[in-house]
Symmetry: C2
Subunit: 180 residues, 2 copies
């Protein structure tokens, strides 16, 4: 997920793993000076970290018939006081589009973790309701992810807290909540 890197490789290119984002940074300096380099490198590092974490999390969740996005939707329901939420609310909380919510809930329904039922007072509104089997999957998968520290190896708690603090500034700016 590097934007550049030493793309030609050279003889036997690709044999020794290199820091592609570091390489991209050096090419950026050479072409455009160093003003934007810290931001380019940080942004592409976040993109690559997301790829790494998503792949690891999905692997950990496979035996529970879950992906990480489905896990997130399942936990929303698990932690809700009624064990159910309108589909629109799920999209709002996960900040994904309506079609993504439909896909997520379809997947959870196929696994028997969720059922769609019409809302009591407004029959046109659909609710996703977590099933007993869904509760059990939520608990087991959470224990598994807690045990592997949400795929963050080899980062220390100090590393994790540093990431959280910096990214909280970005989230507060984008999501409109008050920075601490």
């Amino acid at each position: 997920m590097s934007v550049a890197g030493n793309a030609d490789g050279g003889p036997g290119g690709g044999a020794v793993p290199v820091d592609l984002i570091g390489e991209a940074g050096r090419q950026w300096v050479a072409n455009w000076g160093d003003d934007a380099v810290p931001s380019m490198v940080a942004t592409t590092s976040i993109m690559r970290a997301q790829q790494i974490l998503m792949a690891r999390l999905n692997e950990s969740l496979e035996r529970f018939d879950l992906t990480f996005p489905r896990y997130e939707a399942l936990m929303l329901l698990y932690l809700s006081s009624r064990g159910s939420l309108p589909l629109g609310k799920i999209g709002e909380r996960l900040q994904v589009h309506r079609t993504s919510v439909t896909n997520l809930v379809d997947g959870l329904e196929r696994s028997g973790y969720v059922e769609r039922v019409p809302h009591d007072s407004d029959r046109r509104m659909m609710l996703a309701v977590i099933t007993r089997k869904g509760r059990s999957a939520a608990e087991q998968s959470t224990r598994a992810l807690n045990a592997v520290r949400f795929a963050t190896s080899p980062l220390t708690q100090k590393d994790l807290d540093a990431i959280t603090a910096v990214l909280r500034k970005l989230r507060a700016d984008a999501d409109g909540f008050a920075p601490r």
Copy 2:
């Protein structure tokens, strides 16, 4: 992209933006103790940061008829010494699957930024070659992204360097290069 949060909202829920990941952290402590909380919060923060950055970058790139993943592929070609790369090498560098490379190159080809040509010595191997129009788009879009610091507002250089340093440890572990 919070895994949990106060999903019920309450009266007028959703009116005041809240830190959903912070809320999720509090629910995690209440249900599972605090051992895994720093990792859960950091991982979901990275997922959300990726969403925020991708949306902002795609918006900045729209007028160049690019998305950020296409921009990354275009820059690989732009910065390569020959202005061309085998499709397989592009996938390797961007760490995406073959079908994703096909889609990226299809998109760039539709914009006139790239052409597919058979490799000189091995006609079965396809190369993506950057066009003159593609070079111009690469330069203009890079100037635009450099100017907005790759969508990282309001983070400071210190913030960015902290992210890069921590995530380098994660990337070195996952990608197999030597940590500094």
